[in-house]
């Protein structure tokens, strides 16, 4: 197993952990955290390919990760604001309770 | 302007800082065990007994064991036993004296009532406050010998009151001496100069500071 493959295995395992968490839990915050984990797992891949790919000199992978981190931060902020807003209306953070369009 | 108040405040504290090194008047801290505490004159803690002569404390107690203080004391911390005999006091007049005079400082509440009621200015409030003891009862029970302190000490701790008390006592004694003299003169002027009361009324205690009451022989406490 080469270094690149090891990194990819790590990232896909992390992705699976995030996926399982996001699917198994019903607490909105935990689901959001699971999605964050999956995003981070994707970022691991970028770094792995940048480091062990054919062109480590080009910073594409690193820059992509930087952008992904920025976007993930925005996503987390908005997502958690949504959680708080839903909690204010429904007094619950269970995903299943937020099932009607009318607030 | 924003920040001007901050700068002003920094100036004040800086002045404090510099001043604390060269201006002793700024410092409020007393380093107590090293330098003795400066107590205000009217500070009072526990009572003590005034004696006229430092060399002979037991012989010259002003207390005549009248027991007024014992009766007045609200927490009843004073215990007095009268003497069986009489001894001459500062003016030479024979008086009773306390054979036992004890104050339980564990009970005393420093109310100063004993001082207020004493007709002889014999008991006064003290400045001592370091009276800790290692046992619970005996150490805090002060007896006659521990309580007696000379008049000079009284002058030291509260000069104004001591001067006033001394002035009053002197005046009283002078008045008494003059009265005695007048009485003696009257007696002398009276028909026959008999010699009934010789040794009692004539003596020298007319001197303002009655620090020399002769009776050295009366000094031995019973």
């Amino acid at each position: 197993m080469s270094m690149l493959q090891a990194c990819l295995v790590l990232s896909s395992l992390l992705f699976c952990v995030g996926l399982a968490g996001a699917l198994a839990r019903s607490n909105t915050i935990l689901v959001l955290l699971g999605i964050e984990l999956m995003l981070n797992a994707a970022n691991l891949n970028f770094i792995a390919f940048w480091r062990y790919g054919p062109h480590p000199g080009a910073g594409t992978g690193v820059i992509f990760v930087l952008f992904a981190i920025a976007v993930a931060a925005a996503e987390a902020a908005v997502g958690l604001a949504l959680v708080i807003a839903v909690h204010r209306h429904r007094k619950s953070v269970r995903l299943q309770d937020a099932n009607s369009l009318k607030g | 302007m924003l920040g001007s108040g901050i700068l002003k405040g920094l100036g004040v504290t800086a002045k404090n800082f510099v001043g604390s090194y060269h201006d002793p008047a700024r410092m409020v801290t007393q380093e107590y065990p090293d330098t003795p505490a400066k107590l205000p004159e009217a500070y009072r803690n526990f009572p003590f007994l005034v004696t006229e002569n430092a060399t002979d404390p037991m012989g010259t107690l002003r207390c005549v064991a009248c027991q007024i203080c014992e009766k007045e004391c609200p927490p009843q911390c004073i215990y007095i036993e009268k003497s069986k005999d009489k001894k001459p006091d500062a003016t030479g007049k024979p008086q009773l004296y306390p054979a036992v005079f004890a104050i339980d400082t564990a009970v005393c509440m420093s109310c100063q009532l004993c001082v207020e009621v004493c007709p002889f200015d014999a008991i006064k409030m003290d400045h001592v406050f370091e009276v800790a003891a290692t046992n619970r009862f005996e150490g805090l029970l002060l007896n006659r010998e521990q309580l007696a302190k000379p008049n000079e000490y009284f002058h030291q701790i509260r000069p104004t009151e001591a001067a006033e008390v001394d002035g009053r006592l002197t005046a009283e004694r002078q008045a008494a001496a003059e009265k005695a003299k007048a009485a003696a003169a009257a007696k002398a002027a009276a028909p026959k100069p008999t010699t009934p009361v010789a040794g009692v009324a004539d003596p020298g205690p007319a001197s303002p500071r009655p620090a020399t009451p002769k009776p050295a022989e009366g000094g031995t406490a019973p």
């Binding site: - | 924003l2 901050i6 404090n16 090194y21």
Partner: protein
């Protein structure tokens, strides 16, 4: 710059000492010993610095209030030797270690234990990238400034862990306050350093310190604080650093009058001392960064003073900063939580953003000379002073100038 001054024996003495010790070990172990020595040096120097900061703080605060301060602790067995109370921190340490360690029965045991450990560990990380001298920099990183701020963020987590793990309402309230405060002031703190990064074009602390070398006529140092944008940035940095290290006047998380002792309420003995230590380490590290970024790092203020080794200059400046912070603590009152956040978001952040633009202007006009240089200074100063007045007036509207109805 004479070679003698910059490369003297004293300048290199710490390095020579380290190399001398490392030389005793087999080659395979040398890198390990090298790093361990660096770590030990930092721990020793800043541990002692912390110890004497506490006594300095107590003595200085006392003097600022016309008191004497601790002056009694001497040495054991030498009772007559008082040493002006300088051994107080060691007595305090012995007391802290020997005190009982109390953990509330319902506390979250793991978090309660981890919080002080985490906070000390992470508050020490910042020291790794500070250039303590011309040749004394523990880790030379390309992105040192970024590393410094990244290392500092975990202390917030530790404070939260302490507050939540204690299962105490006051602790939790304090933790929430601390989070709000730290997040609010992280922004101006970073924004105040960014102009320097912009002008020097590097994130490395070593290069930033080097960029401030040189003097005009041998006496006027080229430190960033002596430029309009640098001065404004330094002031913003000072305020934000005070708030980041939870110090008075921003010590709301441990406001004794409101929250008992904040997140430290349920801590005792050595754990409490660890929090205390972390607070001072954080303050020292932030001061070190401020010195590196604005006050010329290890550079001497005048050319003829260069014979003094650079690490002494750094430590001197560090002590100066700490004394200044103590002075501030002895002077100012604690802010209210709404005033605190208002100050950050309505005053410091806009000012810091404007200052960033100011630095960009400065960097763009670096070619202006002669009378244009004066214009450059004037414009740059106006960019920070005018908004300072306007924002300051808005911020203090309704508060200042204060009228005292009953005071004489």
């Amino acid at each position: 710059m004479s070679v003698v001054a910059t490369d003297s024996f004293l300048e290199r003495a710490p390095l020579l000492f380290r190399d001398w010790i490392v030389g005793h070990f087999p080659v395979a172990l040398q890198w390990l010993v090298h790093h361990l020595l660096t770590i030990t040096a930092i721990l020793t120097v800043f541990g002692l610095f912390f110890a004497f900061t506490t006594i300095a703080e107590r003595k200085l605060l006392a003097r600022l209030q016309n008191r004497l301060g601790p002056n009694r602790s001497g040495l054991p067995w030498f009772r007559t030797l008082k040493l002006w109370g300088l051994t107080q921190p060691f007595a305090d340490a012995i007391k802290a270690i020997t005190k009982e360690d109390i953990v509330p029965a319902v506390a979250d045991q793991v978090l309660h234990f981890l919080a002080p450990v985490v906070i000390v560990a992470f508050s020490l990380l910042g020291f790794a990238v500070l250039p303590f001298g011309r040749y004394l920099i523990p880790v030379e990183l390309d992105a040192a400034i970024l590393y410094f701020f990244a290392a500092g963020t975990a202390t917030e987590l530790a404070i939260f862990m302490a507050g939540w793990g204690s299962r105490n309402k006051y602790s939790l309230l304090a933790a929430m306050r601390a989070l709000a405060q730290l997040i609010s002031y992280e922004l101006p703190l970073i924004l105040s350093v960014v102009p320097v990064v912009l002008v020097t074009g590097t994130l490395s602390t070593r290069d930033i310190a080097l960029a401030q070398g040189g003097w005009t006529w041998g006496v006027l140092p080229h430190w960033h604080v002596f430029t309009p944008w640098g001065f404004a940035g330094f002031l913003i940095f000072l305020v934000a650093a005070l708030a980041e290290s939870n110090r008075s006047p921003f010590d709301l998380p441990e406001a004794e009058s409101e929250l008992i002792a904040g997140h430290l309420t349920e801590y005792s003995g050595f754990k409490y001392a660890l929090f205390f230590m972390a607070e001072y380490f954080g303050l020292t590290a932030l001061s070190g960064l401020g010195i590196t970024v604005f006050l010329g790092g290890w550079q001497a203020p005048c050319a003829f003073l260069e014979f003094i080794p650079s690490w002494l200059w750094f430590m001197g400046k560090l002590a100066g900063m700490i004394v200044f912070f103590i002075w501030i603590r002895g002077t100012l009152l604690r802010l209210r939580i709404d005033q605190l956040t208002r100050l950050a978001w309505q005053f410091l952040v806009p000012l810091a953003l404007l200052n960033l633009g100011n630095a960009a202007f400065w960097a763009l006009t670096s070619g202006w000379t002669g009378p244009l240089a004066l214009a450059r200074w004037a414009i740059s100063a106006a960019i920070v002073i005018v908004p300072f007045f306007l924002l300051g007036r808005r911020l203090t509207a309704g508060y200042a100038p204060r009228t005292y109805r009953y005071a004489a």
